[in-house]
Symmetry: C2
Subunit: 547 residues, 2 copies
């Protein structure tokens, strides 16, 4: 007779092994490692919560400190591999297999560990793709998560950085897994219950607050005039004609520049209330001037941003906040919003090839995907129309059709040369060669060329929707690739023909004088200006405070 509740029995056996360490659900800091050793078993799938923002860093250290002779062959299934402790798991032989989404600062270290055979790589996912597998074939046996506060029953207050927590907990707790939470403090009553105690097995008041990276803060002082020129082109050449109201901005200075010229250049174009009103977006400080100027109606966020808490609490008409007043973020829901409810994704990348494929995986660097491939792809299951979506769809086909279809606007915004004057445009992505060397099933591509609608550089906008052949697409890309080798190899006649058709548009074609692209257009010139716009509600992290 088959037994059908082995997972429940296994769970109970682990709870029993840990029972002597806990008072109710509360475990002391000193017993953290013993708890981990009681509830984690070799071969487990483990999710150590952490993405591009918050980190369960205390629990990561505890897991990395276990004896690899006792606990090994773990399969790490988590959004981010970001901390040194995450790498330690593989270097020490505690973990063996990895399925993840985002690497950030560890992108070189992961590449090295892969080459050295320390990591058996499952795949690099987008965030919600990995979440999806949590419910199908990569369900965690143990989740080690982070929250701000817990009560003694185990109810959790995640605070503004809710992020991945509800999804991780749901997948683990409802498949007989074990959920351990590190919290900054244990209180009598949490400000609000973000995660019910029923889904939590153990809580530990860590010896330090969990780490959060202020990843989405861009100092206006570092925005260049080239980026301002690109931002002007994007606003006048894309936001305005398509009437883009619902959108996501990726991370980076070019999109920060757009945010900062909404109340100045955007205002002069008469776009207020007509574009950029509804957002799936982290709480970018550079959006504060536009919010204060009345551009923005609503923002839903993947996570929070360090220093923005009081501002968001005071702007509850704009942000999603709880009855306690603080932000509620949710990565799964916001990524879904970006996929299905937004008309545009606009972001930067490191390399673009002649078909428009892009990648941030360059030699010796496994960057991960995060959310861009999800939001930067045409959602073929979308069935509701909007002006922006229908306009893009019409441009992508010739002549009338009985089946009108729309298209997402997916815009890549890059300078022709990146850091250290490395060309952004290349004949072949580095990631193709890397995939061969590391024997990956797929070359890591951030956004596929056939999903890209526009590329914006300082030389102009290429509208790939209007290209009808691969050759046209290639010349459209070469035609805005500036003095890079790819740009210099353009067929000048073909590029001028594309320009005549409006496939390529230079600043002058858009009625933009590049000399106007000065820092005077920025609504804020510094982090201090942003704090000032916020009426003192935005409190920048110390590393951004230089006044």
């Amino acid at each position: 007779m088959r037994v059908w509740n082995t997972q429940r029995e296994e769970r109970q056996s682990r709870l029993n092994a840990a029972a002597h360490l806990a008072k109710g659900k509360v475990v002391a800091v000193a017993d953290a490692q013993a708890l981990i050793e009681a509830v984690v078993r070799s071969g487990d799938r483990v999710c150590l919560e952490g993405d591009n923002q918050k980190q369960a860093d205390f629990l990561a250290d505890a897991l990395a400190a276990v004896d690899p002779a006792t606990i090994n062959n773990l399969h790490v299934v988590q959004s981010g591999v970001v901390l040194q402790a995450h790498l330690d798991l593989f270097e020490k032989g505690i973990a063996r297999k990895l399925d993840f989404s985002y690497a950030g600062p560890q992108s070189h270290a992961i590449a090295r560990a892969l080459s050295a055979g320390q990591i058996e790589l499952g795949a690099v996912h987008t965030y919600i793709e990995l979440f999806a597998r949590y419910f199908v074939d990569l369900t965690p046996n143990v989740a080690l998560i982070a929250a701000v506060k817990a009560d003694r029953d185990g109810n959790l207050y995640t605070g503004p950085n809710t992020e991945d927590t509800p999804t991780i907990v749901e997948a683990t707790a409802f498949k007989s897994g074990i959920v351990v939470a590190q919290v900054n403090e244990i209180v009598d009553r949490v400000p609000r219950v973000d995660i019910p105690a029923d889904m939590i097995d153990f809580v530990i008041a860590a010896d330090r607050p969990f780490y959060v990276e202020p990843l989405f803060t861009r100092d206006p002082a570092s925005v260049t005039e080239t980026q301002i020129l690109m931002a002007m082109m994007a606003l006048k050449g894309i936001y305005a004609p398509y009437g883009v109201q619902r959108l996501n901005h990726g991370i980076g200075f070019p999109t920060a520049a757009i945010e900062l010229i909404l109340p100045t250049y955007g205002e002069s174009l008469g776009l207020k209330g007509k574009v950029a009103t509804h957002w799936a977006l982290n709480p970018h400080p550079t959006l504060i001037p536009a919010i204060e100027s009345g551009w923005v109606e609503q923002i839903h966020s993947f996570g929070s941003e360090v220093g923005m808490d009081a501002y968001m609490q005071a702007r509850s008409d704009i942000y999603f906040t709880g009855h306690d007043g603080t932000l509620r973020s949710n990565r799964l829901m916001c990524q879904t919003a970006g996929l299905y409810a937004c008309d545009m994704f606009i972001g930067s990348t490191l390399q673009i090839d002649l078909q428009g494929n892009s990648s941030t995986f360059t030699s010796g660097r496994i960057a991960g995907f995060g959310g861009a491939p999800n939001m930067g792809s045409d959602a073929r299951g979308r069935r509701h129309a909007s002006k922006a979506w229908l306009t893009a769809g019409r441009e992508a086909v010739d002549g009338p059709t009985s089946l009108t279809r729309g298209r997402k606007l997916v815009v890549q915004m890059v300078e022709t040369f990146g850091e250290k004057l490395v060309p952004t445009f290349v004949e072949e992505l580095d990631s193709v060669k890397m995939a061969e060397e590391l024997d990956l099933a797929l070359a890591p591509v951030m956004i596929y060329g056939d999903d890209v609608s526009h590329i914006v550089t300082e030389e102009g906008i290429a509208n790939l929707l209007l290209c009808r052949t691969a050759a046209e697409r290639e010349q459209a890309i070469r035609g805005i690739a500036g003095f890079t080798p790819v740009g210099r190899a353009r067929d000048r006649a073909a590029v001028e023909a594309l320009r005549a058709r409006g496939v390529i548009r230079r600043p002058e074609d858009l009625g933009i004088d590049p000399l106007m692209a000065t820092r005077q257009l920025l609504a804020a010139h510094s982090i201090e200006d942003l704090a000032s716009w916020s009426g003192g509600l935005y409190v920048p992290p110390s590393k951004f405070r230089n006044w």
Copy 2:
């Protein structure tokens, strides 16, 4: 000075207006309508929870009973328009605008109300597309939801039918909306907390349990030999060669037939453990024999299914269950699993055109989309590989490429003639003409032809991945369209050429003798057999009990 917390003030004003009706959060049945009148205001976006399964039917009746002179111009934003009360809202002039996903039994009534100008239609969405807009531009002001139990603080136990509730509540509660829950009973302590009390404003113990439709129950007694033949072809011609392990089955008898021949025909093909192991699937009773025979490793569900509760509780290794033992479903998470973590969607439809576009919107019938367009579309943001996905991707391109890409398998399984001998294959979808008549922005297409990988009929399998031109695709479809006008108009030479290339495969090409397709192959012949397979744990609803 702009006020930034108008939504919170509005919320508080409504709570104040309702305060005299509630004892804590508990409101008496007799005060339900007064509560609704206190918390709903004209012009509100309202979500009356209800999809293709559970319904907040008590609250729907209460809302439909308000005075349209006082409350009107509501904008209904909800998954299902299923109950008479939902239609009443529009007929009485309480509601004006509609954004929804699924119509089911009201598909004719919606079409009539649209024609009569009673409904201003926003759009027909897929489920998670509408959820996505809850966080961007269709956030509900009021959510009227359903749960099994509440405690006096307002903590909710949704039981197995969690479905849309967490998503609706999150969007509403965290944007200063009002959440009212009907529950079957109020208890001292709920079996588990599915929704924390912080997110709930009022609870009412309704005068009857909320309604649940047993939509996913198919009686094996009604499975025909034609469907069994198609099921054999699907298993041998698609599941086996692609090695499809992670999948979703749509609703209908053809897929029920597949489920029922896994332990018989599937076993004889040696497929056990090799295909159909991990599912995003509602708890189909017809899958019980395969589960009991050891075919299935894990199932995550959108919702529950009437009569399956005790069975699922006893099979916690397979299903997602809470610490209390009962199922936890979640439509957003399961649809995401279907989109990103499954290699195949297979389902039925009502009409297919010559490009492979399909629709269930036929003359005078607005069926809605539900989840099929989401799961039945190629997820272009997917970045992890599997055998099935890579094999499909390879077939879709000619020759080698530097950028290997995978493809989802999207299979349409239809008999060439549907009910009343209406041809399934048509030159043009009815929905194209309907869209013109009703002035819809888009003709409602369930799955676009370019997302479909295979069509299975009793005449054979057409592999559209292998078609290289529109003309080939048309002949591949005609070649399996049987004696319908579309099928009879085939170019016989072209069809035989496609067959020689394996684009079309007949039963004999697959080594299947149609005479073998008998009901003997079904692991269960009746609902009673399913109950018997389950060891008495599956308790079919009365309408399916005929022994």
